[in-house]
Every structure is written in C-alpha cells, then in structure tokens.
C-alpha cells in the first residue's frame, strides 16, 4: 500500500497505536481533552503524520490534530436519518445552528442571558419564528446542552439547564472547537437536500473512498444498494478491502453473497451495541429468526418482507413467553416497544422502510410503509437461556441450525451442566 508510506515505516507497536487512534477518531470525530478517549490525544498528536495519511489516502477524510483536540471531518452519511442526535428536534437543531452563528462573534465569555438574547435576535435574522414557550425553551436548552457535551461551550458559573432561574450562568466558549464544528458544504448548497447529497460526495478517488467509507461507517452494506460502479468495485476488491480494514482499523469483515458486514472484535467501534442487554435490544434479537420466516426473500437484494403486524405479533409473543425478562415499561406499552425495536433495527441497517414507489424512506408512518429485513439479519442465532413459559407453543427452532448444536441444546435444557 504505497499510499500509506509513513504507516508502513512504523514499528509494529507504533502501527498498532496508530490503529488505536484511528479507531478512536472514527468513534468520536471530535475528540477533546476531558472527554471519553481524550487521554489518547497525546498519542494522536505524536502519530498525526501517519494518521493524516491513513485518513486522507484511505477514506478521503480531512483530519485536524491539535494538542487540545482532534477533529476528523467525516463526509455526510447520505440518506441515513439515524446519525443525528436523538435528543434534538428540528427546532433544537435550529437553535444549535443559531447558537453557533451567535457564538462566532461573541469572543471568549458571555452571560447566558446575553447569549439567549443574541440567539433570539439571530433567529429573527434567519427567519426562524421565536415563541417563548416551554417547548421552545426546552429546544434551546437541549441545543446548549449538546454544545456543552461537545465541549464547545462550558459553564464557568451556574448551568445552562437552569435557564429560568435567577442565577446567571457565565458561558465560556472554546473558539477553537467552535471553528471545527461545521464540516459540510453549507455555504455552497442551495437547499438541505443538496447539502445532504453533496456532503456525502467523495473526492477524486471517488468510488474507492465512497465504498470504503460505507464499509467503515455503516453496519451493513448490501451490494444491491450500491450504484453499479461501486458494486463492481467492491465485488472485485472485497478481499483486499478485508485485509485493509483489518490492518488499518482493526475491523473484521463478514462477506456473503448479498453484501458485507464489518464488525469490531473489540466491541468498541460502534455507537449502538447490538446484540445488547436492554429490553429493546434483546427483543429485537430474539425476534429476528421469527421475522425472517415471515416471507421469502426477494430476488433483487435478498431482503425479507415483514409487515408491521408481524413485528407486533412477534414482539407480543416474546413478551408473553418470557414474562420476567422485560422492563415494565415494555410490557405495559407493547406498541411503543414495537416502535423502539423497529427503530433500533433501522439504526442497525437491518430493517428498512420503503414507500410505495420502492424508495427507501425514513418516514414515521409505520402502517403505510413496506418493511424489509436485510439478509444480514440471518447472521445471529439467538438462544434464550430459559424455556418459554408453558401454555404457549414453544418458539420454533431458528432457521438453519447446524446439526452439532442440538446435542448441546438438549444438555442445556436437561440441566446436566
């Protein structure tokens, strides 16, 4: 790999350090002191040359490394709507942008009241209507809290959460971090759709970068979802890519005829742990084999059709089969549980809603959409560690079961171990 000369010349210890830093940056693109993984900053600074090279040549990403922070400028994720901040509403996002706009001209410190006044003034300037009601204040507070979490602002005195108490909060602004926040081509885009599209565009070695970015960032990449050119490239190169992902990012590929799943053996490089321990994650995992049986996969991409009713039914059965296993909230509001399960599977790229015209959509109108399960859902074989409560049909054995396992299953259920 001539493109990564500096990396190739590193000793094995340094190379593994670079890999570790690269993984931290992929996990947290804005890494700062005092934040999780912030203790890696000295090492990132030391290895910045190799890291620059790795990111720019392999992914076409820009990397800014300073002693106090490191920023990896990722490209946009395109049509994926699950990469935002779950806590922010459109109004919250609007306040985030307005606050950033206001902070650009404010200097180092500002009183919270002044900041809020300026943000509202900026809102008027931007044409965003301001109504001073609790919902609006919540949105603003959520935006400010998000900025605190990013480290762009900090509360020197008081706190941003107490916006309507009389104690005045003093906000300190990290202007360096502030300047590193916007990454996409906002200025040159005429509209939001164009921004989303152009942010996801890659540079000169476009096909290679685009596909590799998807492998590195996305949980499931199906060949059928890629444009013809990218699909051909990936089909030709998946062997090389496997080795490359492992060497530079410590990631392991799982290649099947429908596509590629990339995983991290150390369970680090993801913001959504799945399989997970929460009620939603466990229900989602146990539901997969049943859901996959609901319909035969379609020819084009191997996705299995499911209906919202299937989801509801399977989740309902699981709730009844293992009454002690789930959180009270889930058992009391099964509809909410189904929605959460669907959302989780969508985040993981395992479930996709399609509108009537066949385009992938992120619409919220669950009943109207056609739902498709990715073939990658077959990769797990969930095994409950207890038998379902009697009085119900036991769960049918999950689909393709290697014969050797039945011995162990029997032993397990007999309690002989």
């Amino acid at each position: 790999m001539s493109a990564t000369k500096a990396f190739d010349e590193l000793s094995s210890i340094d190379a593994s350090n670079v890999v570790r830093c690269a993984r931290a940056l992929l996990r947290r693109p804005l890494l700062r002191e005092g934040a999780p993984d912030g203790d890696l900053l000295p090492m990132i600074y030391r290895q910045r040359a190799a890291l620059h090279e790795v990111f720019s040549s392999l992914l076409g990403y820009r990397l800014v490394v300073e002693r106090r922070f490191a920023r990896l400028y990722k490209a946009g994720p395109g049509a994926d709507a699950t990469r935002g901040e779950p806590g922010l509403t459109p109004r919250g996002y609007a306040y985030l942008a307005l606050t950033l706009a206001t902070l650009t001209g404010i200097g180092r410190q500002v009183l919270l009241s002044r900041l809020v006044i300026d943000v509202r003034a900026a809102a008027v300037e931007a044409g965003v209507p301001v109504v001073d009601d609790p919902a609006d204040r919540r949105a603003l507070t959520a935006a400010l809290r998000h900025l605190v979490a990013l480290g762009v602002i900090s509360e020197t005195e008081g706190t941003v959460t107490a916006t309507d108490s009389t104690a005045e909060a003093l906000i300190t602004i990290d202007t360096d971090l502030l300047g590193q926040l916007p990454a996409g081509p906002i200025g040159t885009s005429a509209g939001p759709a164009e921004l989303v599209e152009s942010a996801a565009q890659a540079g000169p070695r476009s096909v290679e970068h685009v596909v590799r970015r998807r492998l590195v960032e996305d949980p499931v990449v199906l060949y059928a979802d890629l444009p013809a050119e990218q699909r051909e490239w990936l089909l030709k190169n998946f062997g090389v890519e496997s080795r490359l992902l492992e060497r530079f990012f410590g990631l392991v590929t799982e290649v099947r005829s429908e596509g590629v799943v990339v995983s991290d053996p150390e369970d680090y490089l993801t913001d959504t742990l799945f399989p997970g321990t929460g009620t939603v994650a466990r229900v989602a995992l146990l539901a997969l084999p049943r859901l996959l049986e609901c319909g035969e996969p379609r020819e084009s991409d191997g996705r299995h059709p499911v209906t919202w009713d299937d989801l509801t039914e399977v989740c309902g059965e699981l709730i009844e089969s293992y009454p002690a296993a789930w959180s009270r909230q889930a058992t009391e509001e099964p509809a909410e549980l189904v929605r959460s399960v669907a959302d989780l599977l969508r985040r993981l790229g395992v479930l996709r809603g399609e509108a009537a015209d066949g385009t992938a959509t992120t619409g919220e109108d669950h009943g109207e959409l056609t739902w498709w399960l990715s073939p990658a859902a077959h990769r797990w074989l969930p095994e409950p560690d207890a038998t379902p409560v009697p009085g119900r049909e036991p769960e049918p054995a999950p689909a393709p079961e290697p014969p050797g396992l039945s011995l162990f299953d029997d032993l397990e259920e007999d309690g002989s171990r």
């Binding site: 990469r83 609007a94 044409g127 429908e258 992120t362 619409g363 560690d385 011995l407």
Partner: protein, 544 residues
C-alpha cells in the same frame, strides 16, 4: 409622558404648576400632538419627490434670512433640472407651487410677507406669496445634509479638544474669580461687563468643544460596534483593524484618561461655585422666556458635563464607559482578527451559512433534520454489528441464510442483563467438545476402575485367575513402577495406584516362578513373588 416628568417640565419652563391633575393629562396629550407635528418636518425626506423637496430646502437654508418668492424658487429649480439634480418637469411653475404648498403643510416653510410688487398680473395671481423656512426645518435640513455628507468609515475622534477643554476649564475658573471680583467692586461697571463676557466666551467654547468631542467619540464607537459585531471581514479590513486597534483606540483612550483627572478636578472646583457662575452668565432677559439658551447657561448643562467625566455613585461616567467599551472592542477585534488570520476558528463568513442552516433545520421534518445535522457537522460515530465473525468467515458465494451464524445467548430469565451480549467464548465454552472429552474421560476412568477391581479381587489367588487384558496392562504398569523402585534386582519393590489404592509388591525369591495368565497372554516372572493388596471398597468408588 408620566406625571412627574410633566411636572418637571412645567417647573423647568418656569410656569407656575397650579393646574389641576386633569389639566396635566390634557397637557400631556398636547405634547404628544406637538411632537407629532414636529416629526412631520421629516416627511419630505421620504416623499416620492424628495429630490425636489431637498433642492427647495437647500435653497432656503443656503442663505441667511431666505425669503423667496415662487418665481425665484422656480428659477433656481430650472437650473437644477438642467443639471439633472431633480427629475424633469419638476421646475414647472404649477408643480413648484404644489411642492411649496406641501412643504408649508408639513411645517417646513412658513409664509413670508405678501409680495405686492409683481412683474405681471399673472405673477401676482400665482405667486404673490413669499416663503420662509421655519427654525426647526433649518435644523432638520442641516442634519440631513450633514448625514448625507458623512462617509461610511470611522470618524476621527477630536482628541485635540481634550487639552483645550482642560485649559478652558482652568480659564473659566480664573475668569469667574475675576468676574466675581469686578462685580463686587463695581457692579454694572464696564469692567465687570467685560469680565462677564470673557467668562461667557470661555464657557461657550468649553461646551462646544465638549459637544464636538462627545459626538466624535460616540460616532467612532458606534462605527467600532458595527465592525466588531460584523463578521464578514475582508483581508484588507483586517489589516486596517490592526492599525485601528493598536494605534488609534489605544491613543484615544490614553488621551482621555490622561486629561480626565485634571478636568475632573477643575469641574469639582467649579461645582462649588456653580450658582455664582450661572448667575454671572445671566438670564437672557432680553430674549424672553421661550428661548433656547446657549450651552453652559443652566445647572443641568454643567451637571451633564460633570457626569461625562466624573463617576457618580451608581452611574458610571462616559469616560468609564469609554474605557470599558474599548476593552470590549479590543477583545472582539482581536478575536475576529485571530479567527480570520489563523485559519482555525469559525470563519466569520460562516455566520450567514449557519443562519441559513438554522432555517433549513426549522423547516425540516425530524428525519430530515437528523440527515442535515449529520451532513453539516459529520459528528456521527462509525457503527458496526457485533459480534465479530471468525476470521475465516468470508464466504462470498454463500448467502447469509446459509452461512455460518453467530450464537448469541440471550438472557430471558430476568430483567437483569446477565450475559446477554457478545459472542459465546469459543474455547472455554465449546460444550460439544467439552462434553465428549468428559465422556471419554469418564469411560477411561471406568475401564481402569474395573481393571483394578479385577486385580484386587484376584488378590492372593493371582496365580489361579485368568485376568482380562485390561487388568494385565494395569498390573504390568504397576509392576514396572515397582521394579523401577528397587536399587538392585535383589531388593523388594512396590508401587501404588494412588487413586484406587492398589499396592503391588515384588520380592526376589530364588527358584520361584510366578505365572499370571490372561486373555492377552501369559506373564512369567522368574525368581520373584508378586503380592497384590487392594481395598474392596475402592473399585466401587472408582466406577462412581
């Protein structure tokens, strides 16, 4: 207008405040009307034909005591129309008459004396009226012209006035004492009048200088405020700011601070004799009460001047405000210059982008907003599925449904999260192999146990018993160990199976042959005797 304000007004105007409460509110209403009337003086500026109106008003304000007939105005406008300063047709007589009437309606012009000498009957009929400009309209027009002339950039602060003010205040002090001395020596004398006039001269000068200084400072900081809150800085602006910053602002503030102390001292001195001073400057008897006095003739003027330079409790002076504003401005300017030149930091030009972004966000549906956020900020984490596959799991020809799967044990026993996530360990938790190995070991154990039991039960009757192959091999194993224990072939030796507590002892005994027959063959020991001791319970334990 609130009642106290109104009362103050009444007192200030020197009118006896004897009106009833109802009268005062009526008065307030009148004031509002009067204000409205005055504000109509500005109406011509926003009228459609404002160029004509401006030309007319300039004509009237260009000379002192302008008193113009319609004919004269028309002639002047004809010249302006030829030069293109006003729209074509605006200098026609009828139009001019119309414009002048309108201006009179707004209050900018007042009727002058009626012209009786007309060049023609037509002129007499049309334009027998002469117009003059009203006092307030002159003020408005002067401000308008000044405003139109002002360039966009910063206004130079008249710093040089500071030493002049400082000196002037000192001279007021000495002039005042001279005037007081002359007055007490010879009231009404020529000398007393002269000293009073000198005093008035100094006072007026100081107030004019201060008014100019305050205006320039205010203008300069207004400009500065505009600059520091603006964020589209061009490179040449930035270099300009550096001069503005390090040289000019610093200079202004230093000058102001240097002179403030002396000025404040002089003002404090004059504060004690302010009553005397104002008395000497005298009431403007000859002008009546409805008069706008020159600056410095009332206590309020002096208070204002003092407040500009000297801090009062709870009310910082303008000098303090200046100092504070400067610190703020320098901070902001430094920040903008640093941002713009260092390359890091949010470019000031991004403010516009971010405002645009805010609008997009606000108009978007939630999924769209998430997409925009991810695209605009790129702060999302990489996301992958767990657990990682085996290294050999690339099966490109196999679909997922047929490929190897990841076993995941999901805890459904309780709400707790015991062992639900992650892969099952391949080595430690491979139940099949573990089970088969265990079974193998158990079987092995059982076979050995049976063999030992057989040997033990044979015991003394070893020679008469036909052993199984297993038992013989156990015997041979122990025999080997026993023989290895001996120092020489003449010593006895023994070996113990530690699990089954079976002891085998071999003793040399010349001439004795021990024959042990088994299904696997016959073992013959020459010149040796073999003892096997075992505990009957052991075999049972061994087979468990």
């Amino acid at each position: 207008m609130t009642a106290p304000d109104h009362e103050a007004d009444v007192l200030r105007a020197g009118v006896a405040g004897t009106e009833a409460e109802s009268a005062s509110s009526a008065q307030a209403l009148d004031d509002v009307r009067a204000d409205q009337q005055r504000l109509r003086l500005f109406a011509y500026l926003s009228a459609r034909e404002h160029r004509t109106y401006l030309a007319i008003m300039r004509l009237f304000t260009s000379t002192l005591l302008a008193d113009l007939s319609i004919g004269e105005v028309t002639a002047a406008l004809a010249a302006a129309e030829r030069e293109g300063r006003i729209d074509p047709g605006e200098s026609e007589l009828d139009t001019v008459v119309e414009r002048l009437k309108q201006l009179r309606l707004w209050g900018n012009l007042v009727l002058g004396r009626r012209e009786t000498i007309a060049a023609s009957i037509a002129e007499f009929q049309h334009g027998s009226v002469r117009y003059q400009v009203s006092k307030l309209a002159v003020r408005v027009q002067r401000d308008v012209d000044a405003l139109l002339r002002v360039p966009e950039g910063a206004r130079e602060v008249s710093r040089e006035l500071l030493p002049a003010i400082e000196r002037g205040l000192g001279e007021i002090g000495s002039a005042l004492s001279a005037a007081v001395a002359a007055e007490s020596a010879e009231p009404g004398s020529k000398r007393a009048r002269r000293t009073r006039e000198r005093l008035a001269e100094h006072v007026t000068t100081v107030f004019l200088q201060h008014a100019e200084l305050a205006a320039t400072v205010r203008d300069f900081y207004a400009y500065l405020g505009e600059v520091v809150t603006r964020h589209h800085l061009a490179p040449d602006e930035i270099s300009g700011f550096r001069n503005l910053l390090v040289e000019y602002i610093q200079m202004v503030v230093e000058d102001v601070l240097r002179h403030t102390e002396t000025i404040a001292g002089s003002l404090a001195g004059l504060a004690g004799v302010r009553g005397e001073l104002i008395r000497l400057l005298g009431p403007a008897d000859q002008l009546g009460t409805e008069v706008e006095r020159a600056r410095g003739r009332t206590a309020a003027d002096w208070q204002e001047l003092t407040d500009w330079f000297v801090d009062a409790p709870g009310r910082p002076s303008q000098v303090a405000a200046l100092r504070e504003a400067t610190a703020r401005a320098i901070g902001s300017l430094l920040a903008s210059v640093k941002r713009a030149t260092s390359g890091s930091g949010l470019l000031p030009g991004r403010r516009g982008e971010l405002l645009k972004l805010a609008r997009w966000f606000d108009e978007a549906e939630p999924p769209e907003a998430h997409r925009i956020y991810a695209a605009a900020f790129g702060l999302y984490s990489a996301r992958h599925l767990l657990p990682a596959p085996d290294y050999d799991s690339d099966n490109h020809d196999v679909p997922w449904r047929d490929g190897p799967v990841q076993d995941v044990t999901v805890s459904v026993r309780s709400r707790g999260d015991r062992g639900a996530r992650g892969r099952t360990s391949r080595v430690l938790d491979d139940p099949m192999t573990e089970e088969s190995l265990l079974a193998e070991a158990r079987e092995e154990d059982a076979r050995r146990g049976a063999a030992v039991a057989e040997l033990a039960s044979a015991g003394d009757r070893l020679a008469d018993t036909r052993l199984s192959g297993e038992a013989l091999s156990v015997l041979c194993e122990l025999l080997t160990l026993a023989m290895a224990q001996r120092d020489s072939s003449d010593d006895p030796g023994s070996a113990l199976d530690p699990v089954h507590r079976l002891r085998v002892t071999i003793r040399p005994e010349a001439g004795t042959h021990t024959r042990i027959s088994s299904s696997a063959g016959t073992l013959t020991l020459t010149d040796a005797v073999l003892d096997v001791h075992g505990d009957g319970a052991i075999p049972a334990e061994a087979t468990r």
